[in-house]
């Protein structure tokens, strides 16, 4: 995965400078949270369902080897080929091999964040293949040469105007102006339809693998996944090993949480199950189907203290409700996964050294955990990563030592109280007239954005002790 998380602060700063985009992000965030709330308020069993699904996810992960083997056996029985990839390189090579076995030149691709993680597109393209994204959002960012800014809505950062300009640049439009949003959608549909018909291989993702029958489940709103799956001769389903669930009804239970949490819909427009290649007597469907299942550190995460992150169902609610994500947008995170889920997952998939700023992009406000349909304690996991950051001495020394000094002082009340009494008195004298400071030593982060309010005259402890003494003397 190409990654720029080490420059998170610069990326964020750049993003904040574009005030038009920042305003759009605020509006989208408000809208996303309103439609989620409306969907969940009108669905009584949400909390029960989320506990139910959490138990199933935990059980599946506890017995991942068992359910993966069962899935593999059933999927093979249905005529699929199942491949396991240890890392991104193996994964990309496996997909390329399949394409080359069929002399494929054109690939029609459904949305798959896993293939963003592995960098599949650029890998296939550098081998001379023509890869066309067919999810509208993915298609837009592919045309623009950008990466997704959201795990569910990859082109969330693009306005209709920007998309119009993009199409004017990239498509041969003649005199057509694409004034309405529906014109833009129709334009993309026309271009993509041709590609669906010409592609030799379809590549799609999966929201769940079902162990009991060897099927995979995919939810989409555009139906492009089904066209990718059914029109080309060969279908490749790409996902990660942690997506497996025991039964079909577990997958549908999860999908009821997913759609409501992601887009406020009771169901996605399309919920599809893929069983395998075309059988004798059937008139359509692929002739050959493959599952390529990526590990890429997930086995290690499973045996770590961060295993709950594997219970994520990729709804994007934590992104939509994170005040940091909605302030700076997804690109600032420099990773395929952004927002709170990305800030946990990215360091685990790559390294904390490259991405230790991400777990710090958190105020512990707890909104992500509140809305997470998988009940993942994201703020706790982020804090645990900050703990690791400290142990590895990746954080700035002035913070590490400053906080150690503060804790030491707080453990020595008489020194602490003497020292604070004096400092507070000085601060008060200096700041009392104006009420605060626009600059103060050691507080540049604070004072770059706001004044430092002056304290009242004395510490409480000083005043309270004096009052006690007075009372005793009386």
């Amino acid at each position: 995965m190409e990654q720029h998380s080490d420059t998170f602060l610069d990326n964020a700063s750049e993003a904040l400078k574009n005030t038009g985009q920042a305003e759009r992000r605020d509006k989208i965030a408000l809208f996303a949270s309103q439609i989620r709330t409306a969907a969940i308020d009108s669905f009584e069993g949400f909390d029960d369902l989320r506990h139910h699904v959490k138990k199933i996810r935990q059980h599946s992960l506890d017995n991942l080897d068992y359910y993966l083997s069962q899935f593999e056996k059933e999927a093979v029985h249905n005529g699929n080929q199942v491949h396991f990839a240890r890392d991104s390189e193996e994964f990309n090579s496996l997909v390329l091999d399949i394409c080359q076995q069929h002399d494929a030149r054109r690939i029609a691709k459904g949305k798959s964040i896993v293939t963003e993680e592995t960098g599949l597109n650029s890998f296939l393209q550098s081998a001379g293949l023509n890869v066309m994204e067919t999810d509208l959002g993915e298609y837009i960012i592919q045309q623009a040469g950008e990466t997704p800014s959201h795990i569910v809505s990859p082109a969330l950062h693009k306005s209709a105007n920007e998309i119009r300009e993009l199409f004017q640049q990239k498509h041969d439009l003649g005199h057509r102006e694409l004034q309405k949003t529906s014109d833009l959608v129709a334009e993309a549909r026309n271009v993509l339809r041709e590609h669906f018909l010409q592609a030799e291989v379809g590549v799609i993702g999966a929201n769940a693998l079902i162990a009991e029958n060897g099927y995979s489940m995919l939810v989409t709103n555009e139906g492009n996944g089904d066209l990718c799956a059914n029109l080309p001769k060969v279908l490749i389903i790409c996902t990660t090993i942690d997506r497996v669930l025991p039964r079909a009804e577990d997958a549908t239970a999860m999908s009821r949480l997913l759609a409501r949490s992601a887009t406020g819909q009771p169901h996605s427009c399309y919920t599809s199950f893929y069983s395998g290649p075309r059988r004798e007597g059937e008139i359509d469907g692929p002739l050959e189907t493959h599952f390529v299942l990526l590990d890429n550190e997930r086995s290690n995460i499973l045996s770590s203290d961060y295993r709950e992150i594997l219970e994520c169902i990729r709804c994007g609610a934590c992104l939509n409700h994170c005040p940091i994500y909605t302030s700076v947008g997804g690109h600032a995170y420099g990773s395929a996964y952004s927002g709170p889920i990305g800030s946990v997952l990215t360091p685990l998939l790559t390294s904390l050294e490259q991405s230790h700023l991400l777990p710090n992009a958190c105020t512990s406000c707890g909104r992500c955990a509140e809305v997470c349909p998988a009940n993942i304690p994201l703020p706790d996991l982020l804090r645990d990563l900050r703990h690791e950051e400290g142990i590895k001495k990746l954080s700035a020394p002035r913070w590490r030592y400053g906080l150690k000094l503060h804790s030491w002082l707080a453990r020595h009340p008489s020194i602490y109280q003497t020292l604070t009494a004096t400092s507070i008195r000085i601060l008060h004298r200096l700041g009392r007239k104006r009420g605060g400071f626009s600059r103060l030593p050691f507080t540049s982060g604070w004072t770059s954005q706001r004044d430092f309010p002056a304290p009242q005259e004395n510490t409480f402890m000083q005043l309270y002790k004096a009052k006690m003494k007075q009372n005793n003397e009386r």
Partner: protein, 263 residues
């Protein structure tokens, strides 16, 4: 966990309360602690202030320095565990004691942390739900236009939402002029605001905009961290909105200057 003693109406004997002042009230705004004492006494409590208190350990804990936090948490537990009740004028410090100490500690210390958690309450929750303070009329005048910032830890860890609003109604006759997106973080986040100042600046600016849009004269809240952040931003921009802790308003203390205003 915080359900005990609900059936005492009114409490038969004086409740003995230990006040955990919090480091920000101790250092920046003693008036918050004095207002808390006044309110607790009005609610019929006997208030003690353990003198050896400093800080609950959030700065180190939130930064992930668990090793530095453990001894501090143990110190706070040893200091407060003999109390009948512990009251804290801050949702985040109360959350630290009630939820994070038990997560952080193990074995015997975890049991002691859980016992302390069961009798520790944030101020407005304690006044409203436990001590059941009688409706009475403190200043300030009910004509004041007040908006309220729900601090994240108070809201999500300690379920503080209605209590401050009910108390303002019952003790001051004030109806809150609600600000938009009141449940979104103000951008304080402890060390976050200094580590990622630009993002924090954007967040506090949004919060201030929403507060100003209500036309309220006063912004109240239950956590000094958030209030210092919002007041500091208002000060920087020269915006005239008074920022005060809910305890000050409830106790009728309008003489003390608002946060960040000179005199």
């Amino acid at each position: 966990m915080n359900e005990q003693h609900h059936d005492q109406s009114p409490p038969p004997q004086r409740m003995r309360v230990s006040l955990f002042v919090t480091c920000l009230a101790d250092l920046f705004r003693p008036s918050v602690a004095f207002a808390s004492i006044k309110l607790l006494e009005q609610a019929g409590c006997e208030v003690m202030v353990p003198l050896q208190q400093t800080c609950c350990g959030q700065p180190a804990y939130n930064s992930g320095d668990y090793e530095a936090t453990v001894p501090l948490a143990q110190q706070v537990i040893a200091l407060l565990e003999t109390a009948d009740y512990v009251v804290v004028p801050s949702g985040s410090c109360a959350g630290m004691i009630c939820h994070h100490y038990p997560k952080l500690l193990q074995g015997e210390w975890r049991d002691r942390a859980l016992k302390l958690a069961a009798k520790t309450f944030e101020l407005t929750v304690f006044l409203k739900d436990i001590a059941r303070i009688e409706p009475q009329r403190n200043n300030p005048p009910s004509t004041l236009s007040v908006t309220y910032h729900d601090s994240c830890a108070g809201l999500r860890e300690m379920s503080i939402k209605e209590q401050p609003r009910q108390l303002l109604r019952e003790l001051c006759g004030i109806e809150i002029n609600e600000l938009e997106q009141s449940e979104v973080c103000c951008g304080f986040g402890g060390t976050f605001c200094a580590k990622m100042p630009e993002i924090s600046g954007k967040m506090v600016n949004d919060k201030l905009d929403h507060a100003l849009a209500t036309g309220a004269k006063i912004l109240a809240g239950g956590d000094l961290g958030c209030l210092l952040n919002i007041a500091g931003r208002a000060q920087r921009l020269g915006q005239e909105i008074e920022v005060r802790h809910i305890a000050e308003l409830l106790s009728g203390d309008m003489d003390t200057s608002p946060i960040g205003e000179g005199r």
